[in-house]
Structures are given as structure tokens and as C-alpha cells.
Amino acid sequence: MSTLSQNPLAGPALRAAPVPSQETAVRTGRVTRVFIYLVLLLFALFYLLPFFIMLINSVKPLGEITGGNMMALPREWTVEPWMAAWSTAQIGVQPTGLRPYFINSILMVVPAVAISTLLGALNGYILTKWRFRGDTILFGLMLFACFIPFQIVLIPMARTLGILGLAGTTWGLVLVHVVYGLGFTTLYFRNYYAAFPTELVRAAQIDGAGFFRIFWRIMLPVSGPIAVVSIIWQFTNIWNDFLFGASFAAGSGAPVTVALNNLVNSSTGVREYNVHFAGAILAALPTLLVYIVAGRYFVRGLMAGSVKG
């Protein structure tokens, strides 16, 4: 076979034949591509427009907005609304700005994401490499967590947090989000590890590594792509959550999403739209950042999971 393809006489003839059809393919490809790019550009503008409006109005004095010119660029630029949203605006009854609540959200989201991702990885490892009787049924039950609507767990969860003494605390929210996210993280890691060769685990067993050593030294180091998926997914969901935050951590323990709502609703007298816009962008900034920094890996991780498993 190889001698045939290396035959110098066969080469040019084989290469010459497909050229005309290739050229037309390139030409039609170009037209389609221009069309596709136009459509994509349109959609991008459509999605960017609201953000653009928020952005320009967050750097205007309030007078320009109430004057009725919402779509125009600011005549006078100011960062005053941002400062106010961050540190002085009225949240409920306190003039604290979003800052303390932003910190609440970070204190909630970092442990919740770390714990749920790590536990998901451990679950995936056990469900694929330490199989036991009934493991598929258990996994099926865990998947239910992905489909249960938030509202259903509100009351049992409130009861549980009360019993544990975690009601109204950030740690209570961490627990809620870990429990709720575990279904997803387990699903991600299980599918990823299912494609990971079991022979590696066996080799490590013969080499004398135990359960946790295999997890730390063999499994986790190759879990980068799926860990990114899990982290982005969990981070976005937990950071953006409003219902659990409003239900279980009102007051000074509330996350930034709840505080933003209070900011918008609590302003007495004039509604400071510019401050509201600035606050909304501030509250959305971390998820935006995570996407910009790790979005590439997110797509790659999803692909890795789907191609292999």
C-alpha cells in the first residue's frame, strides 16, 4: 500500500484531478462565511447593547439620565456612581454600599466551589474506579439533584440549617450550595473519569499507592480540564444565586445579589439609576472575569469529556 502512494507517477495525477471542484467549494465557502459572520455580528450587538447602556449610564451624573437621554454618551464623565455603589449607597437601612456583601459572596463562593468540586471529583473517582454493587443506581439518584427545582428544597433546607445552627450564616449558604451542586460536579467528574484507563489505577495499586494517594497523585493531576468546567459552572451558579441567598441569609450576611436587590428597592426619594447600573455591573463582574480568564478551558473541558466519554 505504502509503495503505491509513494509512486512518483501516481502523485501529480491524483493531485490534479480534484482542483476545479475545490475552487468552487472555496468560493461558495466564502459567501456562506460572510453571511454567517454578519448574523453572528448582529447577535453579538444584540447581546452587547444592554451591557453598553448599563455601562454608559453608570458613568453619567443622574441629571443626564432623568433628563431623558438614556441612549446618549455622557456629556460629563464621572466615577461617582461607582464609588457610591461600592461603599456609600443605602442597602436596606445601612449606608454601606455593596462592599460588605460582595465580601460575603466571596466568602460563600470560594469554599462552596472548592468543596463541591473536590467532593465531585472524589465521587467520580469512586463511581468509576472503585465500583460497588448499586453504584449506578446511586449515581442515578445523585443526578436527581440536577433536576430538582430550587423551590422544593427551601423549607426542608431551612429546617436543616436551623437544626445545624447555621441559619442566616455564610457557612449555611456554603452547605446549601455544596449539597445542591454535588449532582452536577459528580456528573462532570464521573463522565470524565469513565474515560480514564482503569489500568492506571491498577498499576498504581501494584506500585503500592492507596485510595487517596491514587486520587491525589494520579487522578487529580490529569483532571484540569474538567475541574475548570466544574469551577466555572459552580462559580457562576453560586455567585448569581438569589433565591437561596434571600431565603437563608438575609440581613448583614446576605450575598451581593440580595444586596443589589435591596440597593435598587431601598432608595428613598430619587431613584439613582446611575448607581444602580454601577452596582449591577459590580455584582456581575466576577462571573464575567471567570469567563474571560477560563472560558477557553471551559469549552475545551466540555469537549474532552464528550469526546472521550
Binding site: E199, L200, R202, I206, D207, G208, A209, R213, R217
Partner: protein, 369 residues
């Protein structure tokens, strides 16, 4: 009692028994090959020796100690996997020394062992690479290095060469054989390739469908296969298995074989015990190299039988020429010197070395002793 003892071992998954009462042993320093078609239970048996699969019943002992409930890392074994199973996140050096590290061997000693093994396998220049940066043959060497560095009592190999291309496979085969001769360690080696089995082993266990069909030296298995399965599986091209009828002429047994025209050919049998089979059917087993042209016949043989038959196909293979002739309803293959003069369609004088022929009971499929 051998160095490695497999006594009456069975394996079941749920209610399905996949290994049936296996009895094998290997002396210290022996090269035991488990060979058989895919799915016959070779890997399962090897994994049971390694401790990666539980033993349903029976006993496995290494160096006199029953290891049924001993953890894989404490059995003093090392294993080379078919996929090599190199840790993708570690360098070659890390892969090789991981087992030593897990066993608490201090760093200077690990490095010395690593250097020795790397020199032995000629992979010194690869130590800092990741497995993904290695070729198939290099990965194979690293996998062997990981096993060698442990200096275990028993090496277990699960089809270590099956992922290599043909040329490399032959080279590595020779290298494994050299390593065995040099280190003198006990090896259990799984393969589905009967040539690997013949060339490497000191003893072979031929397996099929969870049964050990025959356990013996390569020569025993090649010359005196225990049954039709072994006869057909070992050897390439495989043994000719020709239906025949036994007759007794002048007190000696003769095999009568019908050709395509219905005419009977007579081949005097060397095995006197077959006289008891007078008038009954047997399956005559003759290796291709025992059928030649008269000049190429084995001069040591005391019973060369002439056979005139039509040649149907000639297949020159460089060093040999294979000649096919229809006999007893089969294409019978003869192996001749490259310069043999047979031509397709002509009637040719074959010489059959009946000293090398074996006979099988067509009902039980076992060799007739």
C-alpha cells in the same frame, strides 16, 4: 510444588464461571506463557495472580506463601500492562520510581535503581520526558523499566507487545527473552500470539474458554498437542487435520484418506496403538513441514510415506514454498524448500513423515496416546 503455584483456581463473575479449575505451576526462573484466543480468561488469571481480581475458589501461592488475601503491592510482583498504563502526569523517571517511593525507599537508593534500569533498557535520554512525548516502543520500555526497578519475585506481562508494529514486536520479543536469560526471574506472560508463546516460553499453558487445554514445554505442545484445539491453535500455518479411516495391513495400522476423486490413499502409521482403531474414523494431524517433496524429507525419519496427489495452489513465501493439495475434504498444506518444483494442477509426489503424525479421536477431540 513450584515457585508460583496455581491450585484448583476458579473465577466467577456473578453466576458465570469464566475460569474452570485451573492448575498451573512455575519453577523459579521459569518463563510461563498463557496463550489462547481473546476472551479465554488469560488476563483474568494474570490479574488474579497480581491480586487485582479476587479468587473465587482455589489457591495461589508465591514462594510457598498463599497470597489469596495479600494486597497487590505486597505480593512481590510487578506487572506490565497491554496499554503500558504509564502515569500521564509524571515524567519517565517519576513513572519508574513511583513504586519505590510508595514503598518508602529513600531517594538516593531510588535514583541509583533508576539509573541502573535506565541503562539496562537504554532509556537514559528519556528520563525527563512525559509519556505523551514517547513513541510506542519507548513507552513499552518505560513500562518494563517500572516493573524491573521493583526487582520483584515474579514479573507479570499482559500482552505487552500487542500494541507495537510487526518489526518492533519481533525486536522487543528478543529483548524480553534476553532480559529473562540475564535476570533469571520468574515470568508469567500472557499473549494471544502463538509464535510469541513458542519463542519465549519455557512452558506454555494453552487456554480456551476458561479451561487449560494443555500445559507443557513448547516442544511437547508442538509435537504432541493434547487435543484438536491445541493442534489447530499452535503453529503457523496450523497443523493439517485430515479425516481418515484406520485399517490394519500385515499387522500394522494404516490410515486411509480419500481425495477429491474418492480414491483412497494409504499412509502407514508409526503408532502401533492405532491398530486398536481398525475400521474406525480418526483425525490425522500432520504439520506442514512433515509433508515435503521426496528430496526434502527428513533423513532421520524411519517412516516416510509416499503420496501422489494433485497440487491446487502454490504460495511462495521466500524461504519456504507452501503447496496446497485437496485431501480428505480439506486443503492440506505442505511446506517445501523454496526451490521445490511443484506446479499448480500437476500430480505431485509428496513425502509424508509419519513419525511426526499424531491421531485424534474425532468424538472426544483428544489425542490418541
Amino acid at each position: 510444588m513450584g515457585f508460583l503455584d496455581i491450585r484448583n483456581v476458579t473465577k466467577s463473575y456473578g453466576s458465570v464461571e469464566v475460569l474452570h479449575r485451573v492448575d498451573l505451576e512455575a519453577e523459579e526462573g521459569e518463563f510461563l506463557v498463557l496463550v489462547g484466543p481473546s476472551g479465554c480468561g488469560k488476563s483474568t488469571l494474570l490479574n488474579m495472580i497480581a491480586g487485582l481480581e479476587s479468587i473465587t475458589s482455589g489457591e495461589i501461592a508465591i514462594a510457598g506463601q498463599v497470597v489469596n488475601h495479600v494486597h497487590p503491592s505486597k505480593r512481590n510482583i510487578a506487572m506490565v500492562f497491554q496499554s503500558y498504563a504509564l502515569y500521564p502526569n509524571m515524567t519517565v523517571a517519576g513513572n519508574i520510581t513511583f513504586g519505590l517511593e510508595m514503598h518508602g525507599v529513600p531517594r538516593p537508593e531510588r535514583e541509583r535503581a533508576l539509573r541502573d534500569v535506565a541503562r539496562l533498557l537504554q532509556i537514559e535520554h528519556l528520563l525527563d520526558r512525559k509519556p505523551s512525548q514517547l513513541s510506542g516502543g519507548q513507552r513499552q520500555r518505560v513500562a518494563m523499566g517500572r516493573a524491573l526497578v521493583r526487582d520483584p519475585a515474579v514479573f507479570l506481562f499482559d500482552e505487552p507487545l500487542s500494541n507495537l508494529d510487526a518489526k518492533l514486536r519481533v525486536d522487543m520479543r528478543t529483548e524480553i527473552k534476553k532480559l529473562h536469560q540475564r535476570l533469571g526471574r520468574t515470568i508469567v506472560y500472557v499473549t494471544h500470539d502463538q509464535i510469541e508463546a513458542m519463542t519465549l516460553s519455557t512452558r506454555i499453558a494453552v487456554m480456551n474458554a476458561g479451561h487449560v487445554q494443555q500445559f507443557g514445554t513448547p516442544k511437547e505442545i508442538y509435537d504432541r498437542p493434547a487435543n484438536l484445539f491445541v493442534a489447530g491453535f499452535m503453529g503457523s500455518p496450523s497443523m493439517n487435520l485430515i479425516p481418515a479411516t484406520v485399517a490394519v495391513e500385515d499387522g500394522t495400522p494404516v490410515a486411509l484418506i480419500r481425495d477429491e476423486g474418492g480414491e483412497a490413499h494409504r499412509l502407514r502409521l508409526s503408532q502401533p496403538s492405532l491398530a486398536a482403531w481398525a475400521g474406525r474414523e480418526i483425525v490425522l494431524g500432520i504439520r506442514p513441514e512433515a509433508i515435503t517433496d521426496p528430496d526434502g524429507a527428513d533423513r532421520q525419519s524411519r517412516n516416510i510415506q509416499p503420496l501422489r496427489a494433485r497440487v491446487s495452489v502454490i504460495e511462495p513465501a521466500g524461504s519456504d514454498t507452501f503447496v496446497a493439495t485437496p485431501l480428505g475434504g480439506r486443503e492440506v498444506i505442505a511446506r517445501m524448500r523454496a526451490d521445490a518444483t511443484a506446479r499448480p494442477g500437476e500430480v505431485f509426489d509428496f513425502a509424508v513423515n509419519m513419525d511426526k503424525a499424531v491421531a485424534f479421536d474425532p468424538v472426544t477431540e483428544a489425542r490418541i496416546p
